[in-house]
Symmetry: C2
Subunit: 152 residues, 2 copies
């Protein structure tokens, strides 16, 4: 179905929530309550985001999580790759050179990168700051970016 996992989905909701109230620190239970996402999931996701340096955490009774950078410095691409792994639509990533049965003949392989880049680029163009803005801003064109230039 070509959709991202629920982890990333939830992750974006949580981060957007944090971005909208930036500065403050939120505990996992707090966030779970406010977003209606099951606590264990919230916990799991936040831990991952800390490991990827997108959140900072404070332990202890009054502990919690806060954004590691300004909302404008965190892209949707960052979140998705942190939670779902590298953004690679195709399996055709040339790490393991024997993995592709096509090898010599394929001829599409270079173009695979084109697709991956297009998507990655689209997702890099959307920041948390964008997601906290109510609606319909001129930023949208920026986000889709590449296409504009294509058609222009």
């Amino acid at each position: 179905m070509l959709r991202m996992t629920k982890q990333a989905d939830y992750g974006i909701v949580l981060m957007t929530h944090l971005a909208a109230r930036a500065g403050r620190q939120f505990s996992a239970p707090e966030l779970a309550a406010e977003t209606r996402i099951p606590l264990p999931m919230v916990s799991k996701i936040l831990k991952l985001l800390v490991r990827e340096d997108l959140l900072v955490s404070h332990r202890g009774v009054k502990g919690g999580y806060a954004l590691a950078r300004a909302p404008r410095q965190i892209t949707v691409a960052d979140l998705i790759s942190a939670l779902d792994g590298p953004i690679a639509f195709t399996e055709c990533i040339e790490d393991t050179p024997g993995s592709c049965s096509q090898e010599g003949i394929c001829g599409v392989r270079d173009n695979w990168q084109r697709i991956n880049q297009a998507v990655r680029h689209a997702l890099e163009g959307i920041t948390l700051a964008d997601l906290t803005q109510p609606l319909a801003s001129p930023l949208v064109q920026l986000g889709s970016g590449r296409g504009a230039e294509l058609r222009a």
Copy 2:
């Protein structure tokens, strides 16, 4: 891992193959041999593409498949939605209004559409014609430039 299914993957390979030799007609066994994709899969995929009007088929002994339109008129988005269903990263498609537990509070929902559109738009910008071209179109530079800027 945020990747498309193998069906779509294979589908793009097959269609690119056809686009590169446009005009001619290919049988499923032929395509299977040339792309090294297992025949049953090839068959299954081509049938789906016919149903979505991206291919036309001829039955009978000398039957086969051919593109339904010019390569430039078929986008990667077309292929993916034909094989993997509608391009919707999030489950948050408002067909069924009760499906989202957030409903009132969410506040991200509008922005979901923003992400979906960005990706859809990126994929609509790539046609089969692009994929048959060897390499290095103006698209590529754009991709690298922007990511660097964001991380800096």
